[in-house]
């Protein structure tokens, strides 16, 4: 899979930039300067325009993340259910990247987290630690 393959797949659709960037991010784990250049020339945009879009959205990363990622919800409903204390108690060894997200839509069973496309709810100290250790 190359950036060009991804571009070919989305040829002719309206407003193709976000779908393209999602696919590039999924395939390569980030959107590189080189990819931005290729996308820009294919869509007849400036590199600055594409870079501006990449940097606007939290989902698109400019560099690959080597570590496993745990997305943990830190929004109000999970705050009300004690997520702040939970995170502060977590023995963070830096091996896992803890990423803050604002809401996973699991607001009645928080604290909640996501690994890949898998969702986890009703986390307590032990469950969260086990989840981190499993990554």
């Amino acid at each position: 899979m190359t950036v060009q393959d991804i571009l070919d797949r989305h040829r002719g659709i309206e407003g193709a930039l976000l779908p393209i960037l999602h696919d590039v991010q999924a395939a390569f784990g980030h959107v590189s300067e080189e990819a931005i250049k290729t996308i820009a020339s294919s869509l007849n945009l400036t590199r600055a325009e594409v870079h501006g879009v990449v940097s606007f959205y939290h989902d698109f990363k400019s560099a690959p993340e080597g570590r496993p990622v745990l997305k943990i919800c830190r929004a109000e409903a999970c705050q009300a259910r004690g997520v702040d204390a939970l995170v502060s108690e977590l023995a963070d060894n830096g091996r896992v990247k803890l990423e803050t997200v604002y809401c996973l839509g699991l607001c009645s069973v928080g604290p909640a987290a996501m690994t890949g496309d898998k969702v986890h709810a009703r986390l307590d100290t032990a469950k969260l630690q086990a989840l981190v250790d499993s990554l």
Binding site: G15, P19, H22, H58, A77, C103, S108, V109
Partner: protein
């Protein structure tokens, strides 16, 4: 033995897949359905109409052998949490397999679309206006008026855009529709397309909802022949809260930075790619089939004042019985939090309830007699927003919550307008001074002044409504903000 278990994201997060696998291993016939919305009971298992929950893998053996009474809740439909509701938009919740077309048709699916095609476009819009349905995304604008504006606009191409960027903490009703009853949403979009003369629809779903994205993509493929010539495409957001604002969402769909556009022009006249566009929330569109099938008056018969119909209210946060509660407008906040929600899950007294998401006000128990409708909440300097309630017990530090509102606004601001972009950061700094006990009275006055600027000077609701949680926290919980 036939066993029904939800496969919605919340049930999965609570372990529903493992429970389903254990039932299958024990020889049971497992059917995966939508969720009833009683979240404290998930994974909820239904065997011959009787509910059991929450079920753990260890409980499966005894349930299969018929000895599962300890977690039995009796007939699910008779459970007080369900029996007290008036479910119109969520009529199928818990009862059907989300991607099964036969289930959908057998429960009245496509009746609204058929009726709309018989009535004709003009009559559909009139019916929607008569129903009193207001935009469920938070703004509460009459949906029929918006449709009429788009219908009367002249253009070679028009669009229906479904706003499924449900980013408000404490809300999950959109997710439940998409994961539990996706055909209903598509039917609503097809009716909208028919009414205004649009042949193309987009559903913009936030990337934090992978299960909803999957279900919607599968549903669109499965019913393409039914809604044709209307065509629906799923688009995925990229982690920007502000894209829930309609003009920001349109920019994002166009492949641009999700910056807010100044209005006018209204999206109804110059929306997606500059074309007339209906932008409606998931709940708004998902309610349309019911209105078409049962009539405008039947819908308008529910509710109070200018808030007609029902609202799928989401009870969340530190609450014993959290979940989805659809009811006519007019129920009081206290009934929702105390009678239905059962108070705080921690067992401690409830101290504050944030209504309407991160941009909604914090309400103390002294406001629990407020009826849940658009106007009553506006009167007490609040808003119902997308219908989410987040309950906090007495351990909450309201200065911290006010600070978080500013911090969230700073993190998610699109940067287009100054009051939001700079105001949120300055507000955060000033609240830090207040928490540190530095010139408290003076700094509180400064925050109030700043909130005034944000409220009236911001381009959209992100900067414009951040003052709601901040000012309500200061007003109702002043004791948390130090000595003046």
């Amino acid at each position: 033995m036939k066993v029904r278990i939800s496969d919605d994201a919340l049930a999965l997060a609570c372990g529903a897949d493992d429970v389903a696998a254990a039932f299958e291993a024990a020889g049971a016939d497992v059917e995966r359905t939508s969720s009833w919305g009683m979240h404290w009971l998930e994974p909820l298992v239904e065997i011959d109409g009787i509910g059991y929950g929450p079920v753990a893998v260890e409980d499966v053996a005894s349930l299969v052998s018929g000895q599962g009474a300890s977690v039995s809740i009796g007939v699910i439909a008779d459970h007080p949490f369900i029996a007290r509701q008036q479910r119109l938009t969520f009529a199928r919740a818990g009862k059907t397999r989300p991607l099964n077309l036969a289930d959908y048709e057998a429960t009245g699916g496509w009746a609204g679309l058929r009726q709309a095609r018989q009535l004709g476009a003009e009559a559909v819009i009139e019916a929607l206006i008569d129903s009193g349905l207001r935009g469920r995304g938070g703004a509460g604008f009459p949906a029929g008026i918006k449709w009429r504006t788009v219908a009367h606009a002249q253009a070679d191409q028009k669009y229906i855009v479904c706003n499924a960027d449900e980013g408000d903490s404490g809300t999950f009703a959109d997710r439940m529709v998409m994961e539990g009853d996706p055909f209903q949403l598509i039917e609503g979009m097809a009716i909208a397309g028919f009414a205004v003369g649009a042949t193309k629809g987009y559903v913009y779903i936030r990337s934090e909802y992978p299960h909803a994205i999957q279900k919607m993509q599968a549903a669109v493929r499965a019913c393409a022949h039914i809604v044709a010539p209307f065509d629906v495409e799923i688009r995925v957001g990229a982690g920007a809260y502000v894209c829930g604002e309609e003009t920001s969402l349109l920019n994002s769909l166009e492949g641009k930075r999700g910056e807010v556009r100044a209005k006018p022009p209204l999206p109804a006249l110059e929306g997606l790619f500059g074309k007339p566009t209906v932008v409606n929330n998931v709940l708004t569109l998902a309610t349309v089939p019911w209105i078409m099938a049962h009539g405008a008056q039947a819908y308008a018969d529910y509710g109070m004042g200018r808030s007609r119909g029902t609202m799928p209210i989401q009870i969340a946060g530190n609450v014993r019985f959290g979940g989805l509660f659809e009811t006519a407008f007019g129920i009081t906040l206290g009934e929702l939090v105390t009678d239905i929600g059962g108070g705080a899950a921690s067992g401690r007294p409830v101290r504050a309830v944030q209504v309407g998401g991160p941009l909604g006000a914090y309400h103390p128990p002294s406001q629990f007699d407020t009826p849940f409708d658009y106007e009553s909440f506006a009167e007490i300097d609040g808003l119902i927003g997308h219908g989410g309630l987040v309950v906090f017990d007495d351990s909450v530090d309201m200065a911290k919550q006010a600070r978080f509102a500013m911090e969230f606004c700073a993190a998610e601001s699109c940067g287009k307008c100054t009051p939001c972009r700079l105001g949120s950061t300055r507000g955060l700094e000033t609240l830090d001074h207040i928490v540190a006990g530095d010139n408290v009275a003076q700094n509180l006055a400064l925050v109030e002044d700043l909130c005034d600027t944000m409220k009236f000077g911001s381009l959209c609701a992100l900067g414009g409504f951040t003052p709601y949680p901040v000012l309500s926290a200061i007003k109702h919980f002043s004791e948390d903000f130090g000595e003046r």
